[in-house]
Subunit: 421 residues, 2 copies
């Protein structure tokens, strides 16, 4: 009898460390060759399962699989795709089972955020209904840090480190220039619905006067007058003002600032970020010369400055996912459990996918200072361990030597083509 | 008789490694305590000399001075300030000599770009006229890499490394997302007048299909139709397109694209960068979903990913400046001389400040491919050694542990206050 195979897939926005989880999955399966045959990877997440577009990872050398640990982005491609309900999309679920069955896949590892865990849960539910038992294990991942149960989500710690390092460095530049030139610097960071990433930038401010001097959170409605007073006071006291703004900043009516008509903009919501709006407001009202940066994809792909804690946790979650599956667990997701802060220690626990799916955890109000412009000690206590340690990739010709896998396609076995909506 | 003192100052836009030059100056002077007394630093460049706002670096510990080597930005503050001609601004030059004389300063080290070397040259010229002999040595620095004679300018190699690393990482992210989401990513980089920095991003493209797929140089007038065809062909062939655009991109009439009315903009030239304009053009004409990043100050302050070559050269130039002064040279600037590419080796030469001042070196046309969208092998040969090697700063609490000097003020001796225009 042939051994059952495993299928691994990546979903949602990719991160600097999601491949470290892939590395954990594949290396661990390879260590259990008696129990599991091959690890297939679906190209572009669940879409690759529907289209039977599978990759045979057994063609990859141990060295290349190991190199996934230091390679950002999703090595097998990701997707933004929701399966929909079983009731309305039965054909899709049947197709998934057909692909599983055709390739003797008995283990399904889905690596993603809240939506993706919902997908994994749905697959676990229907497998029995359709008479094909498959073990579904979710592996957490999201830079937004909004998954429930887990202490934090892999990918977040590295973005956190990137934004804190970046605002520290840029604000030092600003400080040197401020007497005769730029007085205000603004860094726009990701986090459309929660301020976790914006909060992490606050780690750079360790002493009075350190940047960032002002953080604008999506959780705190933007109050222009109060904000401008702060900027002015900061320039008066320190000679300059370094600001971090979340892309998800809202006005008091709950509308994204980038769409709120704060200036007489084009109406092209995608054209400019929120940083230029804030910059323009400052220029108009206070007259200060400014610079701004929008880090966008750079922040979540910056494996060169990844957090070692983050890399280790991402790997451990992939590894544990396989161990859970072999131990007979199903429809669960391994999670990070924090044991202590001083010294920081953590272990792996588990959560049921049913409870994980589609639940978002928000930045607690007591992580934001009362005035709404900085973080509290409680936030600092929580965030600091997540950015600890460096885990540099190897370099070649002065650049990070990231791996490009062969990604050899598995021969298709299903006769019917499946057209994705 | 008291030993003569030295004065060091930083000028123009700061970099990730200008403090490494400062470190080279101060450590080398300390090794020649028989010949030179103290190193003073002028606060905010030449302005600090005019206002007699000096810092006594002898209060700094050897450890803190050593830490300048791994600390970005200008530790003593920089300035954007032109002295003007001696004929029109005689009082300024007299004031400089008064400050030098009051503090027994016989050596002046000015660390900056073309404008700053002009300042150093002017000071060297007038000192004899005003009866106060002072040795003036320029120390090169500019991320724009546009100084003559020197093979390259300290600060450039680290920006070059940053942009090449960043486009490689972000494009990997894009690749994973492109099937169901973003198809185009644009990174805007500095270089208002020359494309050296944009060119450096091309180092990330080592094999066919590698990012960046398109580079938009200030040297090549923007041709929208040709560009859009390229973007479309790239998305068709690879599934996505990663673009680097220089902030100095011009249209065919020589106007900055960000001011050219390509879209019906506000006329707020400072509001948006050129990346959103390019992004919007692609969206309008081709319909692709895009992301863009504007790295701004991040790129020139990113000491965490500085080039080791750059750090070593910056230090060596500071060190040699002092050695030149002690050897009786005057009105010169130490420069980098490339000896060979394979293996890369370099030494220090010298150039006269008269010939350095206000001369800009442009990116040679044969460093840009014939079609104007990428770099040639010749460019790659020149650029590669400049980004080689990593030189990581130490970390504390997960963040780079950059030094903040005491910057103790020197007691003023001049009775007359000098008001700067």
């Amino acid at each position: 009898m042939t051994k059952p195979n495993a299928l691994y897939a990546q979903s949602g926005g990719v991160t600097a460390v999601i491949n470290a989880s892939a590395c954990g999955v594949i290396e661990t399966v390879r260590q259990h060759a008696n129990n599991i045959g091959k690890v297939f990877a679906a190209r572009n997440g669940i879409r690759g399962v529907l289209t039977e577009d599978l990759i045979d990872t057994s063609f990859e050398t141990p060295e290349d699989i190991a190199a996934l640990r230091h390679t950002p982005s999703g090595a097998f491609g990701s997707c933004r795709y929701m399966l929909g309900s079983y009731e309305k999309h039965q054909a899709k679920y049947e197709r998934l089972i057909e692909t599983f069955s055709a390739h003797n896949i008995k283990y399904f590892f889905y690596n993603g955020g809240g939506d993706s865990q919902d997908t994994a849960y749905k697959v676990s539910l229907i497998s029995q209904q359709l008479g094909y038992p498959i073990t579904c294990i979710g592996i957490p991942k999201t830079i937004d840090n909004d998954l429930p149960f887990t202490d934090n989500s892999p990918g977040f710690g590295s973005v956190a480190k990137y934004v804190a390092v970046s605002i520290r460095e840029a604000a030092m530049d600003l400080a040197a220039m401020s007497l005769t030139s730029t007085k205000v610097f603004i860094l726009e960071v990701m986090g459309r619905h929660t301020g976790w990433i914006a909060a992490a930038s606050g780690l750079a401010a360790e002493e009075k006067g350190d940047a960032p001097h002002i953080i604008l959170f999506p959780e705190i409605p933007f109050a222009p007058e109060l904000f401008l007073k702060r900027v002015q006071a900061c320039v008066k006291e320190f000679g300059y003002c370094a600001i971090v703004v979340s892309e998800g900043l809202h006005n008091e009516n709950g509308a994204f600032l980038s769409e709120s008509g704060l200036t007489d903009a084009f109406g092209h919501a995608q054209l400019g970020g929120v940083a230029p709006l804030i910059a323009n407001l400052i220029k108009q009202k206070l007259g200060y010369k400014y610079h701004y940066a929008i880090s966008d994809y750079l922040q979540r792909s910056a494996r060169h400055i990844a957090s070692k804690t983050d890399v280790e946790q991402a790997y451990a979650l992939g590894k544990t996912a396989v161990e859970f599956a072999l131990a007979g667990k199903n429809a669960v997701m391994p999670i990070i459990v924090r044991k202590s802060n001083h010294p920081y220690s953590w272990t792996i626990g588990e959560a049921h996918l049913e409870k994980v799916a589609n639940v978002e955890i928000h930045l607690p109000r007591d992580y934001i200072s009362e005035d709404g412009f900085s973080i509290t000690e409680k936030a600092r206590e929580y965030l600091t361990p997540l950015i600890m340690g460096e885990d540099y990739p190897p370099y070649k010709n002065g650049l990070p030597n990231y791996v490009k896998l062969k990604n050899v396609a598995v021969e298709k076995k299903l006769t019917k083509e499946f057209i994705i909506d």
